[in-house]
Structure formats: structure tokens, C-alpha cells
Assembly symmetry: C2
Homo-oligomer: 381 residues x 2
Amino acid sequence: MAKAAEQFKVTPWEVKGKVDYAKLIKQFGTEPLTDDILNRIKKHTKELHFMLRRKIFFSHRDLNWLLNEYERGNKFFIYTGRGPSGPMHIGHLIPFIFAKWLQDKFTAEVWIQLTDDEKFLFRKEHNDELEKFTSFAYDNALDIIAVGFDPKKTHFIIDSLPGHAGLQYREAVKIADRITVSTAKASFGFTDASNIGQVFFTSIQAVPAILPSVLKGKNIPCLIPLGVDQDPHFRVARDVYPKLGFYKPALIHGKLVEGLLEGGKMSASMPHSAIWLTDTEEQVREKIIKHAFSGGRGSLQEHRKLGGIPEIDASFRWLQAFFEPDDKKLQKIYKDYKSGKMLTSELKDYTIKKVNAFLKEHQKKRELAKKQIDKFLFKCC
Amino acid sequence: MAKAAEQFKVTPWEVKGKVDYAKLIKQFGTEPLTDDILNRIKKHTKELHFMLRRKIFFSHRDLNWLLNEYERGNKFFIYTGRGPSGPMHIGHLIPFIFAKWLQDKFTAEVWIQLTDDEKFLFRKEHNDELEKFTSFAYDNALDIIAVGFDPKKTHFIIDSLPGHAGLQYREAVKIADRITVSTAKASFGFTDASNIGQVFFTSIQAVPAILPSVLKGKNIPCLIPLGVDQDPHFRVARDVYPKLGFYKPALIHGKLVEGLLEGGKMSASMPHSAIWLTDTEEQVREKIIKHAFSGGRGSLQEHRKLGGIPEIDASFRWLQAFFEPDDKKLQKIYKDYKSGKMLTSELKDYTIKKVNAFLKEHQKKRELAKKQIDKFLFKCC
């Protein structure tokens, strides 16, 4: 019989249970990001991003093929995106920070799809209108631009904008033509009670992986860094692309943001403790002090004696996934906290400083992004 | 037990068996176009189009509501369309000729949707590409413009054109959000083997009924003249429009073109005998003489004695549905043919002259339409 720990479920719209990533690789039929392939990447990038070193991106499809193409001069573009369901917290930036690094290292174009249509079609509050999600798309675009993408090489698509929907619909129809309701049900868990927009949506999400090829009239390889929960979309679409004359895009899968930042337990605490990209210094301080799950012991004495548990400590996990790219510094914190030398208050203080330094800079760039957004919204033809 | 004659089936993509229109009204839950409502129309139009007098348009939904609104100064626009599956024959013009008459009589805007996406998604030849249907859409637009629509009041939409898809997709998502897979299956006969584009399509066809209201930011009544086989689309969508804050459009249903022009039998003869709008005088003559199903008798002697059967005679039916708007002249032909006074050769000759006179004029206007098409393609915002 299956043990409770095995009963996790990952779809683009639902994550249940504690995810076992090694098992997920088998379940989804992807390949692990081995040292061999990381070394292959390093040959081109000189260094490895800490998200690769720390296996925050942990799995892939067809990355060897992509590098083969790259090495013979066939450059790729990058496609990633976000469902604009609300304001962004720090965890939401992870795939974009990684995509920006890829852009720099491979001088690649980046296409970013903001799926306001999806977030509307899959919303929980039936009174929420599409316009609400479109406005989140614009708002989220500011945070994504602030990551530092090259305005000459980066194109945003907001699904419901006439200029963008117009480009995407024509290609989506060709993709939808090759996907049966039955496949959509099996891949996404839809039923006959699902609405017809939900069932069609995957064909819209599939478009940017071929759109640059369509617009330029030549087949261009594509790399998609994405949360592993989004893999089902491309598992389906990757069967379709070659039938339309395009390459299958390569994928590189990130772990789920919630799990990364939650101090090791899947709980509902996240909404309270999430650090939003617009939070003030004081809000950050209060959240980390009051809400960040601690791996420390009940008393100072006990902590000094037994040491903390960094693996379940939210502050440590935030440093690991985001705020402390320096492996040596992180390793020292790990040791000191585990040995009891470093106290929870000290770890939290260190984290607060890191977070606030990041946010100060981010919020400045976010302000500047308001004047840049027009350059980033794709304009066609 | 159901008799064979009762076993007909009408969906937007399949018509099976001989259609009993009185039964169809009950099946679909529409209302017959009674003399009362025809008189109400006549109050505004002074005369009735022969397609109304002859019940070629025979059924409706909410026409009394539409006339109420009109009479209190709330003018309506007209929405109709065509699936551009290939070149157009004479029968395909019927709804457009009627829509043009409505435009003239009610000084109404007309929106015409050309569903190249639909014809691609539901095509039988899997090798046919979307581009083929888009090019039929442009070609068909010429024939429709030639009917004489007012360029200032008439707007064409080609579903897959970026400028048009962009406008439609945003509204389609809102409609799709309110239609379950289950409803689509029940209304259109889809199964899990249908593709997700087919299942989504009805939400695209639903859009033009509200698009002018969306663009002008006010609720405008809409009248849709359409082949009765298209009714299921609007049966579904009419439930959705009020939830989005729009009027339900009124519908006026035409009989199925194939049945009207086929001399009373549902057969595969149509493709051979269809008169295409680009046919030459000689082709028309040959088709009518060789292929138009005749209601005449085997010999001259027999014909004079027993008379012909106009009801099953293709030439007569063409005159009735299209080429002889004059009731008195048609009545005389009916009598003369039925009595045996008029021979099949004479009836065919009369029809050939009528058809060729129409086509000569149509083809001239079709040529002029090539320069006008740009005025008719909707340009937004």
C-alpha cells in the first residue's frame, strides 16, 4: 500500500502533500539535472548560478539537445511566465532571477507570458473579473522588469491584450487542433464540469515556445525555465510542436516556491509570512521576527546545547533559496546554527538585513520600471 | 416507435435526414414566424422580403422583444456570418441578401464573422492548413460585399486575423468561463475525442453579438439572421450574455440551404449541380440542363397530360428561394408547370436566364469589391 508520504499530487493548479522530487522526476518522466549536464552548462557560463548548484532547478527535458544546438551555433531563446493572480512575493521572483542569469550568460531573447486569462478562468472567487487579473499582470510586470532584463531582448505578452491575444490565438488554434479533450482531462485532471476556457487554455500557454519562430519564419530552439508544476502543459504541447514543424522546447524545472520558502513544512502559514515585494523595512522585520518558522530550540540554554535545525528554519531556507548566493557564507551559517553557536535571533537578524537590502534596491528598480514597461510589452508587425 | 422520417438531426456541423421544420421548432424550443410577427415587421419595412413571405426564414427567438426595443428608439445591429470552407455557391448568399435587406430597412449596422478557425478545426482533410481557410475568408468576403452592404455600416471579422482575434479572444474567455464541457457536449454532440479547439470555438462565435456593445460601452440589441443549424451556438450563449450584463440577441432562423435548392431530395447531387458565384454563362447553362433535378415527366406527351411536379424540381425551387422575387410570376410558373402547360425545357430556360442575369451583375460587383475590401474589414481603436 502507498504510504501517506507518497501521496502527493502536482498539477498546474493544485499541489497536494509533501512533494518528493526524485519521485516526481519518475512520475513526470523528466531527467535529473546531473553533474554532467551542469558541467556542460558551466563550460559556457564559466560559473553556475547558485540555483543550479543548490538544485533549486533540479530536472530537465532535452537540455543536452539544446546545448548541442547551441554549440553548433543555433542559439536559443528563453520562454517563461507567470499567472498574475495577485501581487508578487519574493518566491515568485525565483524563476525570473534565473531566467535573467540565463539571458546574460547566453545573450538570449526572453519571452515572458502573463496569463491573466488563465488566472481568471481558474479563479476561486467567481465575482472577480478578467480586468482584475489584467491589472495584476501590469503590476507584476514591474517586479519582473526590476529583475534587470535587457529591454532590447525581452518581450512581455499579456494574454488578454488585443495586440497579444491576436498574435497568440492563430497559433493556439493550430495547437488546440492536435489536443483532444481526453488528453486534457488526463493531463490536467479536468472533468466535464470544467469550463471550455480552462480546457482550451493550455494551447495558449503553449504558443510563446514557437511564437518567435513563427514571427521570424525560421525554427529557433527554445528553453523554458519553469516551476515543475507547469510541466504538464509542455508534456502535452511537446507532442504537438513537431507536427507543426517546430522543435520541441527544452525545459528546466524548478522546485515549488512554497516548499522552498516554508521551512520544510507544508502549511497554511505562507500567506501570513510571505514577504511581498512592496513590503516596508518594518513589515519585513515584523514578519520575520513574528512569523518565520524557527528551527531553534525552546530556550537559549537548550539551543546552545542541542543546536538549531536549519533544514526546517524559514530564515535559513530563504537565505539558501534566495538571499545568500555565497556558498561559503551559507555553509558557515548552516554550521553555526546547527551547532548552537548562532542563535535564532541572530539568524533572523541576518536574514532581515539581507531581505531589506534586496527590497530597497528592488523597489527602486520597480519604480523605474513604470517608465520602461512600454519598451517591454511586445509590439508586433 | 419513431418513424424513419422523424430521424433527422441538425447540428452546426452535421445535418442528417430530411428536416421537418415544424418539429425542429419544437425540438429547439424556438417560435414560428407567425403572420402576426410578420405584420409587425411590415409596419416598419412597408413590404416583406420574399424570404419572409415564403417562409425561407421561418422561426425566431425574441423578435417581439427586439421590435419592442426598436419601437422605443433602441436600435439594433445585425450579426451574421459564414464558415469559409470553400468558394461560395448561390445558396450561400441567401442569409446575406436577407441581412442586407434588413440593413436597408432598419438602417442597421451589420457585423459579419468569417470563421476560418472553425472551418480549420472541423475540417475533414487533416492536411488542410488554417491558411487555406483564411484565404477562403478573403475570397468569400468579396461575394458578400457584392451583395451591396453599406461600407460605412458593415464590418467584417476574420477570426484568425491578429487584429480581429485580439478583440474577440478577451470576450470569448469571459463567455467560455460560463460554459462547461458538459454543456458543449450536450449541445453540439462533442465527445472526449473532440479537440479542445472545437470545444472552445462556440465562445468565439458568440462574441460579435456583444462586441459592438463592448466597444461602444453601452448595451445594444442584436438581431442574428442565421441558418437554423447554427441555433445551438446561441442557445448556449444566450444563457451567458445576461450574466455578463448584455441583452440576449434575437434570432431569425433560415431553412437549410441544401434542402431549399435541391429539388426536395437530400442527396449528394449538390456538389455537381451547385452553381458557384464565379461560374460562366456556359457552365450555368450546362449545369441546369444536365444536372438540375427535374420534376417533369418522362415524355412530352406524359408531361402535357399529367403535368410536372414543381415541389421537387430544382429549377423551380431556385426560382422560389432566390431568382423570382415576384410572387405573381412565381405563381404563374407553378401553375403552368403543374398543369403541363410549361415544359421542363422552358422552365430550365427561364431559370438559366435569371441565374445568368444575376451572376453577370454579381461578378461585376465582386470585381469592384476587391478594391473595397479594406473598408469592410473592421479596424479597431
